[in-house]
Structure formats: C-alpha cells, structure tokens
Amino acid sequence: MFSDLHYSFGGLVVEQLTRWELRYVFYGGPGAGWLHVLTHLAPSDYRVPSVSRLVHAADWHEREVEDLFGLVFEGHPRLGDFVLHDDAWHEGVAPMRKSFDGRQPVTHRAPDQNWKPRQIVEEAGAFLMPIGPIYATATGPVHFQLETVGEDVIRVQPRLFYAYRGLEKIAEGRRAEDVLLIAERISATSAFAHSLAVCQAVERICHMEVPPRARALRIFVAEFERLRHHVAAIEGICESTGLAVAAAQASILEEDLLRLSCVLTGHRYLFGLGTFGGLTINLDDSACNRAAAQVREVAEKLSRLERMLSISSSFLDRLEEVGHVSAGEAGDFGLVGPIARASGVSRDMRKAQPYSGYDQIEFEVPHESEGDGYARLRMFFREAAQSVRIISTVGQAVPGGQVRAPEVSFRPGAALGWVEAPRGAALHWIRLGEDGVVDRYRIITPSFANWHGFRLAAENFAFQDFPIILATFALSVHENDR
C-alpha cells in the first residue's frame, strides 16, 4: 500500500512512555512529506501484530524490538537470537525497557563456549561453513554461516551484533551534547553525517535557526565525508579482487583525504566538528578553497583509476553479473543509498527530504539498473564525482557571517533528524526531557537496512565470489550494530 503511494519505510521507533508507542516512519519523494503511523499498547501488554509480511523492510526492526524491548510481534516468522545472542543471554532480558539499568554490568549465565550454528540446508553434499567473528585481516566482527552445495553458496546468514555497544541505551539519561559524541562514534566513516542528523533533530525540538554559513559548511563537510567513504569502498572492492596496485592507488587517495580532514577540521574522522546550531569551528574561505582544489586533484586521479579499471578485463570478470539484486528486491527489503541506486531504486534523502540547503544546490543522484557488483562500483565512482561537484560549488561561495547560533536553550520534546549518510538514509529520533537530558534516542542506520538485504546478493553465487560481493556492498558492522 505504502509503496503504491511511493512512500518508503524508514524505520520503527518504539518508546516506553506512559504506554507503549510504536512509530512506523515512512517518507515520500520530493514534495511529499513524512508519514508516521502510530500504534499504542497498554503498559502491561506486549503483543503487537507483525507488519513485516506487508512491509518486508520492517522485518529486522521487529526482530530488534522483540529482543530489546520484549514486545512480541505476532505472525513474525522468525524472532529471537538477533541483537542479544542466545548463547550468552537469558530469555526475557529486555535491556531497552526503562526498568533496566544500562550502567551496570549484567550477571548472565556463562556464554556457551561450544555454540555452533544450526545447519538448515539438508541436500546431499550440503556443507555449513562458519566464518568469523574474527576472520581475514582487520575486519569488523561478524559471523557468517554459509551453507554450500559444491561450489555454490545456497544460503547466507550473517550473525551480527558482536559490536553491539548498546548506544541507544547508554544515551538515555545523558545530556544531549554527550549524545553527540555517541552519534559520532556509531560509525567513524560516517561520523559527521550521524552527528548532523542528531543536530538537526535537536535544532528542530529547540527551534534553533542555523546560520547560512554553517548550513553551507555542513554540506561541504558532509560531501567530503561521502567522497572519502566512496574512495574507501572502491579500495575495498579492488582489494577483494586481488588487484593490488589499484587498491594501493585508492588507499593513497583515502589517506590524502584523511589528512585533508585533519588539516581542515583538526580530526581525521571529523569528530568534534558538529554542534547544535552550527559547527564548533569556522572553516575560513581560503581553507575551503584550498581543500576544494585538493579534492579536485583527488577527483582527477579517481577518474584515471576508473578508466584503468574499466579496461581491466580480469577485474571486471569478477564483478559483472555477480551479486545481483533486482529493483523489486531492493525495494522490498528497503535497501538504501548507493546499493539501492545501483539496482535502480533512486532514493536519496538529499532530494526526497532536502535538509541543510541541499535543495538550493545543483547536483544529480546517479543510478544504475543492473544491480550487480560492477553497477555498485560505478555508483561509488559516479557519486564521488557528484560530491566533488558539490564541494566545488559550495566551496566557491560560502555565505559570510556566524558559523554557530547563540547558546542553545533546551526544551522538552521529540523530533526526527535525517541525513543521506555515505551509505544511505540515516534517521535519528531523539526525545529530550528537562534541561536537555535525553529520554530516548533511536538510531536507524543505512547499514542496518543493507545488511538485511545482503543475502539476496550473496546467495546462489560461487563461494569465491563471496568476499567480492561483500566488498561491493561496503557494509559497516559498527553502523549496523550500534
């Protein structure tokens, strides 16, 4: 129904107020607004009808809520062992409930040292291959259960949340400024994007006006971050195929951009830059111009790299028609960002629900239709080029004036902040109590959506394609786990 109206599912926000409030958030395209569907439950009730058969993108949201709040979604085909792993946690612990003290360590039963994944495929020759949570060199912790018959991977089940730090819980009871520090550390490679989403939510609650200079600089920095993320994603794809020189070339560019971030803002991952009502430091015009010039140099090198990759046939063989996701699947699973756009689902918060002045800037949201690994690689290159274009445009004419609104005066209330993070749509719901103390903080990240759909791409391909398909998705474990 919602897809007929061209609304996309954004996420599910559960709050324990005087009664349970379940907020299903949908967003429309340009011109159309937000749609919040609310359901209420009595405080003692815990049963909700599942919507995931109608809105499949809500599947993992419901599983998460079941695990953390102890609400049961009736009709959901698969609940349990999701955020809290069954081998380490008692059934019935619901850490997101207000009665649970998140500051204390939990005394739970000793983890099962001999936990083993369950084999589902029972064909002749079926084999279950467990990988992780410590695998390869310097990767985020995730466990994969790959079930294979011969060469082909029939079933892929990622077991996530090894890096679950309980960020939503530990944010509660803290001051909003400190939640900003948490938001930056959801995922370092999109730190500024997430901090921007929180800032926009708090600014909406407190009716703060952000000065034009700060709005422009926020776009400048956000696109800078997107460029760096996409360069790192390209590096990951080159490395997964074993194309060492190309990977090295991309990693030189990534390091150049990290250093440039540090020169421009003081921190290689842009930590400590965002604040309510603007930015913590003023990036002066000459610094912006210099940075924009360096970014253009990076862009030139990047397009040379793209040309060389596009004629390296042994490289393309590993990507073309591998890890295919159709537009229908991408839509149903609620994939976001460059991954969705590579399959022809052109969702972008910067166009759909413009913020920080994106509606006044000319840029394109590129999309592809093949939905394979090569389409995703091309997306990263094309979006990086658009980011460079935005950086150049904004950098040339940053409005003058203050970079920060006067001191914030907090009010109680709740609001949604959203951004198009490098990996896709990120939604942050924040409820403030008195004096800027956070009552509820809900983080909906693009990696959470894309991990949900990752198995679509990886199933029914050869085992040796698996690391390459994984690299083309540019997923973050940290952003998913929170």
């Binding site: 792993h85 380490a88 850490p95 998140g102 500051r103 360590p105 939990v106 983890p111 040292q113 949570p133 390869a136 060199t137 310097a138 990767t139 985020g140 912790p141 090894y162 890096a163 679950y164 730090r165 309980g166 819980k169 530990i170 400024e177 400190d178 520090l181 948490i182 930056e184 550390r185 959801i186 995922s187 370092a188 490679t189 730190a191 790192a232 020189v245 090295a248 070339q249 990693s251 030189i252 990534e254 390091e255 990290l258 250093r259 440039l260 971030s261 540090c262 020169v263 003081g266 290689r268 930590f271 400590g272 913590t280 430091i281 060389m308 004629i311 390296s312 474990v477 940290h478 952003e479």
Partner: protein, 256 residues
Amino acid sequence: MSQWVIKGLRTGVKSTRYPRAEETAAGISPGLPTAATLPLEVAQSLVARCPADALELAPAGVDVNLRRCIHCFRCVRGTNSPLGWEHSYEWATAVSGGNDQKRQFGPAFDRSVHILVVDTGDCGACLNEVRQLNNPYYNMHRLGFFLTPTPRHADVLLVVGALTDHMRVPLRKAYDAMPSPKRVVAVGACALSGGIFGRSFMCAGGVAELLPVDVEVPGDPPPPLAILHGLLVAVGRKPPARLHRAVSDSVGNASG
C-alpha cells in the same frame, strides 16, 4: 595488465621515513591537549568541560590522562582556553605488568612479527587506522610487521574496541590459540578505558578486564603512526612514552 605495473612505478615512493626520521606531513595526527599550569578557577572550569574525564585537577593546574582523551576539542574550542595542543604521535606506552620475561620477544622477532587484529566493538575508526598501516604511506611490511588472519600464526594480538559482551568468548579463544611468547597491544581510548562507551551492560570498559595488556596506544582513534609506535614498543625497537602528562613534568615535551 602492464598498465598497472607502469602506474605503480610512476607513483614513486610514498612511504614515510618514520621511525628513522620524524614524519612532518600535515594531518597525520589529531593531537592531544597538554598539561598546563593554571589558576584553580580556570583549571576547575576546564576539568568540568571534559566529557571523558581526561583532564585532572592537579595542585598547580591541569594534568592530562591520555588514556581517556577522545579529541572532542571541548577544552580548547569555543573558549579562550589556556591549554596547549601537541601534534605529536608517539603516544604508546608499555604497561608495567608486561615486563614478564616469558612475554618478552627475543631477537628472532626483530624483522618478522605477525599481528592478529581483533575488533571487540569500536566505531570503526581504530580499525580503519590499523588498515591504513598497509597503505603505501605507512607500509608496515617494510618494518617486518604483517597482519595475519589466524591466531595460530600471530605473535601480537592487537585489540581495538570497548570489549562488548559478545566478543568476550571469541577474544579469549583467539588469545588462547596464539603460541607463546605473545604480547597484547590495546589500541584506542575504548580499548584502554571504555572511551565514550564506558562501562555498561554491554561494554566491559577496556581489554585489560579480560587479557593482560603489554602496550597501550591512546587516542580516539590513534593515528596510524601512533599505532606503528605501539608495535615498535611491543617489540622493543622504540622507547615507550608516558600516558600521564602532568604539570610537574616539563610541559609540552611531546615524546614524554
């Protein structure tokens, strides 16, 4: 494929001269606040601004506890702060408990050390900085450091993250599977003290809660050269720095 060979050769040598010489390129480190002699009132207001308890009130001013600093810049931005800021990177320190003879590496480890990296729940920054050590700028292979995917081949366990509940068993198993002598290098504020995630229902508040740590590398995240310094300290090829910068020390002495 000859185009790639030519491309590689044309790029030339990018590698830093560190540790033979200082690295002076811009943007290689976020830096840290320096201890300062200050009137009590100013010192108190600065300590109150720090969300990570990294600034400590000292009799003569403010001391800095590097293990806790998360580079939020709140002690220096938006105020006429008297605190200095050092742009160094040699931050790693040897933990006293690591002087155990059985854990010392002999000369056989001088040019070949294999490292297993375990992420126990960080934000990805430390992990990404560890990955940068393999890029041509830092190129840790030239110093005999190699990443390995298996604990059976590992000499050094490099741990990032605040140690989540779910990573306790995998981390313990990885450590136990490593042959002796083995050393543990904890990287980043989260691995040292829990960082911004602290101690909670999910986070243990540092790796030392589970394993003996030999070398600590502060920073949020520590830049690649600080991690490299940590590895050099772990194998005894560089002297360690001090984690507590006090006003009573010679202030501003970056290498501690």
